[in-house]
Amino acid sequence: MIAILQFAGTNCEYDTKYAFEKLGQKCELIWHKNDKLPENTDLVVVPGGFSYGDYLRSGAIARFSPIMKEVVKFANSGGNVLGICNGFQILVESHLLPGAMKRNDNLHFISKFHKLKVVSNNNKFLRLLSNNEILNIPIAHAEGNFYINEDGLKELYDNEQVILKYCDDNGCELNPNGATDSIAGVCNKTKNVFGLMPHPERAIDNEIGSIDGINMLKGFLN
């Protein structure tokens, strides 16, 4: 069962539910004031949106919602957690993922399809993709400028925690938002918590531009 969190201001929960249901999964929306995750939860998804209006910093206030205590517990006991866009920001603020988010370098809200390159498929999320495979996935954010200091960056590379980068059609790095090393997605050291700014749940149907998100989300399924 996939638990999809819902904060005040979340707006991608139904897209996420639709995508996983299309893959044959049972999903449940979990309101952020709940203090328990369903017992049969296999994966927690923190979906995109603007929790708490992005007040103070994106994800900063959502982190203190009752459900997040449970998510931290779930993650620390090895449970799989995926944060998409605002969900990534919330996981970073919760210290489940390293680094921090800054405003995009050009200060614009960027909403468009962007190519991504798989940097490491040695994890549950991207295991169905090949390294260096190029994907076409939409991005939609104003604060996706992922920042990490030099020591932290080295650690990410050493542990294969950099999983996705922004690139052009040929796979060369192309940086839309100023993120350190064009990083679009990372995971934690134990490779059970994942975060990415792009929206795989919006790339599951050729009619809306891409199906490259399917093999990402499928990675979590058995």
Binding site: A100, K102, R103, D105, L107, Y147, I148, G178
Partner: protein, 81 residues
């Protein structure tokens, strides 16, 4: 009641996209003397009075856990008596 002013800014060395844009705009206006601009935020707390030591301890805890993201931000705390 007492006022406590928390100033938050991006750490030195972390590029500040907003500061850069404001700097650019000021130069466009002809303020050529400006070398760089940093944009931060100020949070003003009205609190019950207490000893400076207690206030500082509590507000530091607030900054470390919520008000600032210490990965990229620095903060200062000023108690206004």
């Amino acid at each position: 009641m007492i006022k406590v002013v928390v100033n938050i800014s991006l750490k030195f060395g972390v590029l500040d996209p907003q500061g850069k844009a404001v700097n650019h705009a000021l130069h466009t206006m002809g303020f050529d003397s400006i070398k760089s601009v940093r944009v931060g935020k100020q949070i003003v707390l009205d609190m019950q009075d207490d000893t400076d030591e207690n206030i500082l301890k509590n507000v530091t805890l607030m900054c470390e856990s919520l008000l600032a993201n210490t990965v990229i931000e620095d903060y200062t705390i000023e108690i206004v008596r």
